[in-house]
Amino acid sequence: MKKIITLKVNNKEYEVAVAPNRTLTQVLREDLNLPGTKCGCDMGDCGACTVILDDRPVNSCLVLAVQAHNREITTIEGVADGPNLHPIQQAFVEHGAVQCGFCTPGMVLSAKSLLEKNMDPTEHEIREALSGNLCRCTGYQKIVEAVKSASQTMKK
């Protein structure tokens, strides 16, 4: 039986009727037309589906949409300020941290969540915070450098 739920995504409220067996990834992509959240392994291993749920980054493929009722969600679509990229996004572009791009939304959201709690993370802390997000292109180095650089920009 479908349930009517309210999702607060990127500061906008959506009322949707969802079957309980649909994941947050599915509802974001298919019902709310927010395909920035990627569906990779769909098993909680790769982190491509990362969203921020009430201040914590989570695998949205392992969240039932009904469990997100009335909760605040940030997806990659809510990170930039209109046409202006977020400093983390800008740093990813400048450091060549985006190659195929599939892991990028998850990486940016995990990084954003880290920098909101820790404005000046060490390399180890950055690697730890991104350890649930897999990237098969970059070898991670450029991503780590981008996050470090973004942290410096954001401090100014």
């Binding site: 079957a19 769909d42 989570v58 695998n59 730890e128 649930g132």
Partner: protein, 293 residues
């Protein structure tokens, strides 16, 4: 994309109501906490419960409450909070350490302590430290509670003493006695999102700062059908003065207490050898902790 099988979803707002709902589903209902295990199994087609009952709306199930002589942990508490809470990091840092190597940060933000216990995976990260700390679990059915030591809770892979309509409602951990040291060592192929090849949790309590070992617990993980006590190692430790020689003997005995299998993560012989190495390291670290207090 993997589709989840169909089910009905319930979110009761009291434990009594949750018990009632679960009882009404007979054996076709399952509790969903963080969902990081059950949803994966449902996507793989290994499980297809007709009803999922979430505990998330029940007051108190996601908190840590200090009581006289210990703490009560709610089953729905996420693993990340075991690392973040000051009380945990200061007084129960064995559990924080094990929590910090469970899954990934993303998983730790969803996975719960109750889920990590009830799913009863032989390599789960939280049962070994909890057993080393002598934790007890409280189970509820039809509004009636029963308490049992975590030592008696596990039966085998995925199997526990919990009945299909029973709910894990509390985890009770006592304060560590004075002169107690502990450690959790997990051997992994990589540093995140990894299941232990072997893990060891130890706890030793001395009778005085330079005294003899009054109590010793050595828990081995991923080397038997469930987390087990290295009984012969514990036996020779108790009543003795802690020395490197004693720890080496205990570690060697611990490797005879386990019955590992050979699988993709490691061979049985390798695992036994690693039990010895890790036990020795963990015992030394535990002693160092007592000495540095």
């Amino acid at each position: 994309m993997h589709l989840l099988p169909k089910f009905d979803f319930y979110e009761p707002d009291s434990m009594a109501e949750a018990c009632k709902v679960l009882a009404e589903t007979k054996t076709e209902g399952k509790i969903i906490a963080g969902g990081t295990d059950i949803m994966v199994n449902m996507k793989k087609g290994l499980l297809s419960p007709k009803y999922l009952v979430s505990l998330a709306k029940i007051p108190g199930v996601s908190s840590i409450e200090p009581i006289t002589g210990g703490i009560v942990i709610g089953p729905n508490l996420i693993v990340a909070k075991l690392i973040e809470f000051d009380l945990m990091r200061k007084k129960f840092n064995l559990l924080s350490k094990a929590a910090s190597v469970l899954g990934s940060p993303l998983i730790r933000n969803r996975a719960t302590i109750g889920g990590n216990i009830v799913t009863a995976r032989p390599a789960a990260d939280l049962p070994p430290p909890l057993m080393a700390m002598g934790a007890r679990v409280v189970l509820m059915r039809k509004g009636k509670e029963r308490e049992l030591p975590l030592d008696d809770f596990f039966v085998g892979p995925g199997q526990t003493k919990i009945k299909p309509t029973e709910i894990l409602v509390k985890i009770i951990v006592d304060d560590p006695p004075p002169f107690t040291g502990w450690d959790y060592v997990k051997l992994m192929h990589r540093n995140a999102l990894e299941i232990a090849i072997v893990a060891v949790a130890v706890r030793i309590t001395l009778d005085s700062p330079d005294g003899i070992i009054k109590d010793a617990r050595v828990i081995l993980s991923a080397v038997a059908a469930k987390a087990i006590h290295a009984v012969s190692a514990e036996k020779i430790l108790i009543g003795e003065k802690p020395t490197a020689k004693l720890f080496a003997r205990a570690a060697s005995l611990a490797s005879t207490d386990c019955t590992p299998i050979t699988d993709i993560r490691g061979g049985a012989e390798y695992r036994c050898a690693m039990v010895e190495t890790l036990t020795n390291r963990a015992l030394s670290a535990a002693l160092l902790q007592i000495k540095s207090k």
